[in-house]
Amino acid sequence: MSDIIIKGGVVFDPLNNVNGELKEIYIKEGKVAEEFPENKAKVIDAKGMTVMPGGVDLHSHIAGSKINIGRLMRPEDHRKDPVPRSINTRSGVGYSCPSTFVTGYRYAQMGYTTVMEAAMPPLGARHVHEELNDTPIIDKAAFTLFGNNYFVLKYIKEGDKDKLKAFIAWLLRATRGYAVKIVNPGGVEHWKWGRNVEGLDTPIENYEITPREVITSLAESNEELGLPHTIHLHCNNLGVPGNYETTIETIDTVKGIKPKKGREASVHIVHCQFNALDGENWMKLKSGASKISKYVNGKSHVTLDLGQVIFTDTTTMTGDGPWQFRLWELTGNKWVNSDVEMEAGAGVVPYTFKKNNPANAIQWAIGLELALLIKDPWKVYMTTDHPNGGPFYYYPKVISWLMSRKSRTETMLESNKSCIRKTTLDGSYREYTFNDIAIVTRAATAKVLGLVNKGHLGIGADGDVSIYKINPKTWRPSKFKELEKAFSSAAYTIKNGDIVVKDGEVHSTSLGSTFWADAEIPEGLESELVKELEEDFSKYYTVNFRNYPVEEAYLPTQIPVEAKGGKW
């Protein structure tokens, strides 16, 4: 690692209010540093180029049993995209379910340096970490699934708030998880009997509580523990026409919960596109994006990400078993269901988003509508919910749709007219600026995740920088193809002060770090909790309590993020 000076670039660093300034960036010992003399440093000439902090993806499926089922079941997908080994890199496959090595390389090639795995079943935590350790370059973390966990439901039913909080802290540590992920609360538990829930107030069988209570209890506990990220919520009724109402109701139900100090939001709604459908059924589908946007524009306690649709063949995978079953019924494609005892479940179904399919065209528009109608880019982030809406390496395409109305119009005209008639997309003249893109792809995501050294280029920040060969001073929205090219293959990606990508080629492949949330539990409470857990484990789990927590061996490069000052 040598010291690096990036000279002459146009810098976008929204967290430090740097908006397209000509500015030098100095990196010393892997961190952004004060100015130092040039003599021993490596100087990168970034003249006429865009300089941003390394990208931070807050919702992607890159490691663990779900994506690996996708890989396993789709040899036909891999055949479209074989990746040979090179002098610096391992071989593998790409497309919708890329192998671990290729995942790391391709994110880095786009200038992304931090990626969150969005759903980790606790019982499969070792699997997630094993794969993350085989994912080179990028820093990462995984969100532990909580929404249908037996102990969560039990403690909510018993009204034992302290135990619930203690359990959250304990499970995050046991699985080395970073955030509280909730998927279709109650619905996944019901799916274990072959059913779903209808909405926020369906009583959850055997527990006499509702999805609404699960969400509010977890949100409240999350904030009281002072965890770095908000709850990360996959709403009920995903993929059901008319579900925008459930989404608004869900966001509204947590508005009274006080966020932890230093954060405005108390809930993050994931891949909102799939939850912004209006209309009675698929035939009468229309966009519910404007209604959700209107609500979100008036509130400060919610953030969301797009789950943007890409017109391509992809593989859907969620922790939402009943939804994947429904999708199998709708498509007749192959279907894998994978239930996890006492805590979670998942399903995987291949799916092709087609331009000439009216529903797909509307879904495509919804993602963009959300991005364009929600005024504050600090509240809405760019994702494809990889690979659900499409593979992550289509991000440059999404950037071009956001930054260029011409690019959008071109796709709109190629697609079913429903995307014009049943949505408001055609009426939007807003075009994202480079600064907006820097916000929705790194600054805001790092901020809401609570990763204080990521997403910006202030002194002391991690030396993660991406440099793109495009001049923001001369670029015009009509040149969206150039934009796509520039964001697809970074001129430089620098990770902790190492040049890992140059001219779109991977140069070095060190292993990044794994973040996890380390919240304290009062001592007496912890021993009481462990006693209860041990008892239920011996009765209901098929692994022994002591074989459940992930061992240190699985975290060769970990960074615990402390959550201090929890309220007890």
């Binding site: 890989r71 396993l72 079941m73 074989p82 610096n88 094993e130 072959g194 239930d339 005892e341 074989n547």
Partner: protein, 425 residues
């Protein structure tokens, strides 16, 4: 004397994790909670050991044996790397790397056991679960072409038939167990109902059941009367939570992956009526891990060829038996497996013609046939690592004993070979 608890058993796909061992002078003197097979593995693990690296049966130093192994692999035009179902995941990852570096083919034992299960999953999917759901909720269990009473000895106790859980506090009493097999196995004897079918007629019966579940009339099929088929279909539809555990009786009889296709589709269809799942009974303790690791690194679970520098997958072409039968490989690296005992004789003859490197902890027909044999520490007894249970749950294998001086784990040895053939890092 030391007592170690919560030990994960490195024998079968059940991966029971509640064993207790008494250790005296670096020797296991007692083992608790183990089944008969597991007990024998733990108590006799020091017997019949491969006690030195050998070249052509002559004892040599480790360095010399590794050099010879590296030489064989790096001069080979198309090496086969095979086995991997009875070792830790870390070693499997290294084996993939060797295959990539040498432009070889990597395959694991699923090509001769549950390969068809994977082919079916790639064709139509699979509705599966971790075993705890069966323990906690099931009221109907069907063992199809599988015989846990004799092959997965604690399966019934810990995970299925007689286990008690959250909504199944009465255990065996409230469960209906069916065995479908061609003969009355020990499992069939303890089941509530035994359905004896004609050999190689599984596919027909599964299809008839699907038709019956959909409400069609069916004739007598596979030696099973139509009344019995209708009754079974109704029982399946009316179960609260049902599951099919299938074994090699289904995957390796006529129809192979088509049988599993039919079973998967039957179970999928049943989900329109109730909750129904199926789960393969994997044999070797980490064969699931071999598939899992190979899949995340290459995209494919077994039969992966690297001759073009990127992974290609084609069971039937890149599977070990096919490659050997056609004389396509010119060297072999066997890890934790004994193909000389399990492969067809004419294929073993082909194996005898090429230089073979074997990593094993015990003497086997394969080590005896090998050009280079390397003794290893027994994973799960003398070395740590990860293993995946038959249902995909990853567990940590433990190190109970120190291996003999100088004896290394599979992963360590493979890493030393990688260094010698010019791997990165």
């Amino acid at each position: 004397m030391q007592i170690v608890t919560d030990i994960v058993c490195p024998f079968c796909g059940c991966l029971c994790d509640d064993l207790e061992a008494t250790i005296e002078n670096n020797h296991i003197s007692k083992i608790k909670n183990a089944c008969a097979i597991s007990r024998s593995k733990f108590l006799n693990h020091s017997k019949n050991r491969l006690n030195s690296p050998t070249i052509d049966g002559e004892k040599v130093s480790l360095e010399k044996a590794l050099d010879a192994a590296a030489d064989i692999l790096s001069t080979s035009r198309r090496p086969l790397i095979y086995g991997l179902s009875s070792t830790e995941c870390e070693a499997i990852g290294k084996a993939v790397e060797i295959s990539e570096l040498t432009g070889g083919v990597i395959d694991n034992t699923s090509s001769v056991c549950h390969g068809p299960t994977i082919l079916a999953l790639q064709q139509v999917g699979e509705s599966k679960t971790t075993l705890g759901e069966v323990k906690n909720r099931s009221d109907l269990i069907i063992f199809w072409g599988s015989n846990p009473t004799q092959a997965h000895l604690r399966h019934l106790l810990r995970y299925s038939g007689i286990s008690k859980g959250l909504y199944t506090s009465e255990g065996r009493k409230k469960r209906f167990i069916i065995a479908v097999d061609i003969r009355e196995t020990a499992t069939a004897k303890m089941a509530d109902q035994f359905i004896k079918i004609k050999p190689n007629k599984d596919f027909e019966l599964l299809q008839a059941l699907s038709a019956a579940v959909r409400g069609y009339e069916v004739p007598d099929v596979a030696g099973v009367s139509k009344d019995e088929i209708m009754e079974l279909a109704n029982r399946m539809k009316n179960a609260k939570f049902g599951i099919v555990f299938f074994g090699l009786g289904l995957t390796q009889s006529r129809g192979r992956h088509m049988n599993i296709d039919a079973a998967v589709m039957l179970v999928a269809e049943l989900n329109h009526h109730t909750k129904f799942l199926l789960t393969p009974m994997r044999g070797h303790y980490n064969v699931a891990g071999a598939n899992t690791v190979t899949t995340w690194q290459t995209g494919y679970p077994y039969a992966v060829d690297f001759s073009r520098g990127y992974p290609r997958y084609n069971p039937g072409e890149y599977t070990s038996i096919d490659l050997l039968a056609k004389g396509e490989v010119d060297a072999a690296l066997i890890i934790a497996s004994d193909p000389v005992s399990t492969f067809p004789a004419n294929v073993v003859r082909e194996l005898a013609k090429i230089p073979v490197i074997t990593l094993d902890h015990k003497i086997s027909p394969t080590t005896m046939l090998s050009k280079v044999a390397l003794p290893v520490a027994t994973a799960g007894i003398e070395g740590e690592g990860t293993a995946y249970r038959m249902d995909g749950v990853p567990l940590r294998l433990s190190k109970l004993l120190e291996p003999e001086e100088g004896v290394k784990t599979d992963a360590e040895l493979l890493d030393m070979i990688i260094e010698r053939i010019g791997g990165k890092r």
